[in-house]
């Protein structure tokens, strides 16, 4: 079996509530950071960007673009650059994964990622006293000085695999493997599934003509697909580069 897990995100359905970001952080034991941390030094494996159509007045519209690791399938930029094989595309699942215990923190992969979906642990993780009791058993905490990113809630895949093995099955039930952000979305804007399986609804949605991918022309074949019926959102997301269409919020 060789799955290719991916997502289709309906940007029209995203209200920018942020539930996916919080659920992701809780599932993956992402620590709350010191007060000095900003949107540039934060740890947000799932990050929702707020964008607008650049107009003022009644014509102005805003939209929200959730961005996690795109799990690029071709020439995966972060994999080839890592000097010590801390990044790898998993053969069985197509998940691009980061092994913090192997990582030496050179951050070369971060410069290589066009989606800025990789995050560096600038601080040692710490929780208010007692809160470590609420950490998710499936996921090891990271240490300072290493890179981390979305791994499609791999811990949940482990649980599903164990369940399947215990039941004597080789394949997992897709209902047992749903990433935290997908589960959390209050409008079901995120479809998750095995893009290699033609019967999978997510795969059908992904390969339908109205989907598009960010920076597709770089040729890295990302496995996170987007769709939107609003022309300006498509135009913005599909256009490769230009800083003009955004609010100066990231600085």
């Amino acid at each position: 079996m060789s799955a290719r897990y991916g997502m289709v995100i309906d940007l029209d359905r995203c209200t920018g509530c942020g539930a996916c970001m919080v659920a992701c952080a809780a599932e993956n034991n992402v620590p709350p950071l010191p007060a000095r941390a900003t949107d540039r030094t934060g740890l947000t494996p799932m990050l929702v960007h707020k964008v607008n159509n650049g107009l003022e007045g009644a014509g102005r519209r805003e939209a929200f673009i959730p961005i996690a690791c795109m799990h690029c399938a071709n020439e995966t930029p972060c994999v080839s650059v890592c000097p010590q094989q801390a990044v790898e595309v998993d053969k069985a699942t197509g998940i691009v994964m980061q092994i913090p215990q192997r990582c030496l923190g050179c951050r070369y992969c971060m410069t290589a990622c066009p989606y800025h979906a990789r995050y560096f642990n600038w601080w040692d993780p710490s929780w208010p006293p007692g809160m470590e009791k609420t950490l998710n058993p499936g996921v090891a905490t990271r240490m300072r000085g290493v890179v981390e990113k979305c791994n499609l809630c791999h811990a949940r895949l482990h649980t599903a695999m164990e369940k399947a093995a215990a039941a004597g099955k080789k394949e997992i039930e897709m209902t047992d493997y749903i990433p935290a952000c997908v589960e959390a979305c209050p409008t079901n804007a995120i479809q998750f599934g095995d893009l290699a399986n033609p019967d999978d609804p997510a795969s059908q949605a992904a390969h339908s003509p109205e989907t598009f991918r960010l920076l597709a022309r770089l040729g890295t074949e990302p496995k996170i697909y987007y769709k939107s019926r609003q022309p300006w959102v498509r135009a913005l997301a599909e256009r490769s580069a230009s800083g003009h269409a955004t609010e100066g919020q990231h600085v």
Binding site: T38, T44, E62, D124
Partner: protein, 556 residues
């Protein structure tokens, strides 16, 4: 023989050469790296099996069902329970990290009197003294709970006044309640059958009402469609999240909503778009135009758009009689797809008794938001699990935290069908914490205890033989053989949902068009939560991303 300097030199050379042929450098190098992978000062998650329990969230009146993953006796993950008939598994962003709240640095650990540590005994005697001297008031942020019954009946017995605060959603229903002379909590919006919603600044897509209820409808019937089944018209000065997701966004000048409502009404009557009934609004389109910043043509166009697809429903942000009057005119009151009275058993709701004499003391339940300011000169007994920055209160009394209190959840505001659920206490409370109800029960043991009330209500529902309990799979009340079984089902996380209302029409009589009320309250979690009490991971939304503007209140 004498060891020369050169011998030592060569000896050291031999030593250095030799050491590389032993495990020492290699094993140490390896172990040191392993050490960096398991630094002792970095906490690691607990080991051991993970069990899943159903519970309910008590952070707000919505009472969402939770699936709580537990390990080592502590919650390690929270997600919504798809079984819940209203939320369908949705939660607000706070919910997903709520299991960490009990360890929040702002958690109240001990009784505090004027900022100094005190004991429950002192608090109790101080309160009894205040009761004796009187008059006192008891403030409840979420009426209708079993705990509220305790507060109410205590107030009744000890000649105290009982004030039930209302959130913005409930306030928006207040006018109909007044005109029809029913209780606010017995009214709700029949969103499922609406085809056009005119929102006057209500944050429908941003924390309004029950999480997931409207957003699901919107996502299924409206999102991104150029001609949606469900038309959402957002009338709001600024481009809010709701405005962005709306079918039409009508930006108008701050505070001119009610005038616009009036002028819309006059257009509707003038152009015979609705059967003329009730009082005629005084507003003229032209001066409405001047004040709202819209053109007269735009207002007329809007009026036509509103009635293009019926049923239509107007929703105000907070209490607004003018907008309620517009609903009356549109026939959206007491009809499907409008404002409906809950069938089933609206819980008794005494009117907030106004007290003219200056208050001696006021007891504030932990459900009261931190924005509430105790009356001048009254000794405040403030129950709270977390210190939201309101150290103004004389007494800070530590209340149970998340999942630490057995409570029940009557129908959430804006819900048109009665529901009932029980929030079990999955975590044992520390000896230091008490709910306001427990506190009063100790003073007066004759009050109805929480679990008694819960049992009584379950029996009531059981006797009425209406509705369904939504758990793993839904079960009609008829299928339960005893009230005790029903209670157990609810304690295990089931949610009782009444059958759809048999339309008991809502009689609202209105003599003249109401004037501007002006008052309007922001209502979504992003602005009403005092920031120090956000779950640390939810605070990331503000701190580590530019997704949300920090709430104005966070300065306090």
């Amino acid at each position: 023989m004498k060891v020369s300097r050169r011998d030592l030199l060569l000896g050291t050379a031999g030593l250095t050469a030799g050491i590389f042929f032993t495990p020492v450098p290699w094993k140490v190098l390896d172990d040191v790296s392993i050490w960096t992978q398991n630094w002792a000062w970095i906490p690691q998650p607990p080991r051991g099996p993970v069990t899943t329990k159903l519970a309910a969230c008590t952070l707000c009146p919505s009472g969402c069902s939770l699936r709580v993953r537990m390990a080592g006796g502590f919650p390690v993950g929270v997600s919504g329970s798809p079984a819940h008939p209203l939320t369908k598994g949705a939660l607000c962003p706070l919910g997903f990290a709520a299991h960490q709240l009990n360890w929040h640095p702002a958690r109240l650990q001990e009784v505090r009197h004027q900022g100094r540590a005190a004991s429950w005994e002192e608090a109790r005697s101080a309160f009894e003294k205040a009761c004796a001297e009187g008059p006192i008031a008891i403030v409840d942020g979420r009426s209708g709970r079993a705990a509220s019954i305790v507060l109410q009946s205590f107030a009744a017995k000890h000649k105290a006044s009982y004030d039930a605060l209302r959130n913005a959603e409930e306030k928006s229903l207040a006018p109909y309640a007044k005109w029809a002379n029913v209780s606010v909590s017995s009214l709700g919006y029949d969103l499922e059958n609406v085809r056009t919603i005119v929102s006057f600044g209500a944050p429908l897509l941003d924390g309004w009402g029950v999480p997931g209820r409207f957003t699901h409808l919107w996502a299924e019937r409206a999102a991104g469609e150029s001609d949606p089944q469900l038309r959402l018209i957002q009338i709001e000065p600024k481009l809010s999240r709701t405005a962005s997701g709306a079918w039409r966004w009508i930006p108008i000048c701050q505070g001119s909503e009610e005038l616009l409502a009036a002028s819309l009404a006059s257009v509707l009557i003038e152009e015979h778009l609705v059967p003329a009934q009730g009082p005629v609004p005084p507003a003229s389109v032209t001066d409405a135009a001047s004040q709202t910043g819209l053109t007269p043509a735009a207002i007329r166009e809007l009026a036509r758009a509103i009635v293009d697809r019926k049923p239509v429903l107007c929703i105000s942000d907070g209490e607004s009689p003018a907008i309620a009057a517009l609903n009356l005119l549109l026939g959206a009151v007491g009809t499907p797809g409008g404002i409906l009275p809950k069938s089933g058993h609206p819980l008794p709701m005494p009117p907030a008794s106004a007290n003219d004499k200056p208050l001696r003391a006021v007891l504030i339940d932990s459900t009261v938001p931190w924005e509430y300011v105790a009356p001048e000169g009254a000794e405040a007994f403030r129950f709270a699990a977390w210190d939201g920055g309101g150290s103004r209160a004389e007494w800070l009394l530590p209340a149970p935290g998340f999942l630490e209190e057995l409570s029940d959840l009557p129908s959430p505001p804006t819900c048109a069908v009665a529901t009932y659920a029980v929030a079990p206490n999955l975590l044992s409370t520390s000896a230091q914490t008490k709910t306001a109800a427990e506190f009063l029960l100790q003073i007066d043991p004759t009050l109805p205890a929480i679990d008694q009330t819960i049992r009584a209500r379950c029996e009531e529902i059981f006797r009425a033989r209406r509705g369904t309990v939504h758990a793993a799979k839904p079960a009609s009340i008829a299928s339960f053989e005893s009230a005790a079984k029903l209670e157990q089902a609810l304690r295990d996380g089931g949610v009782w949902l009444d059958d759809p209302p048999a339309h008991s029409p809502l009689k609202c009589s209105l003599r003249e068009w109401p004037g501007n009320s002006g008052n309007r309250a922001p209502a979504n979690w992003a602005t009403t939560w005092a920031q120090p009490v956000l779950p640390p991971l939810a605070a990331k939304l503000y701190q580590e991303s530019s997704l949300r503007e920090t709430p104005q209140r966070s300065q306090s």
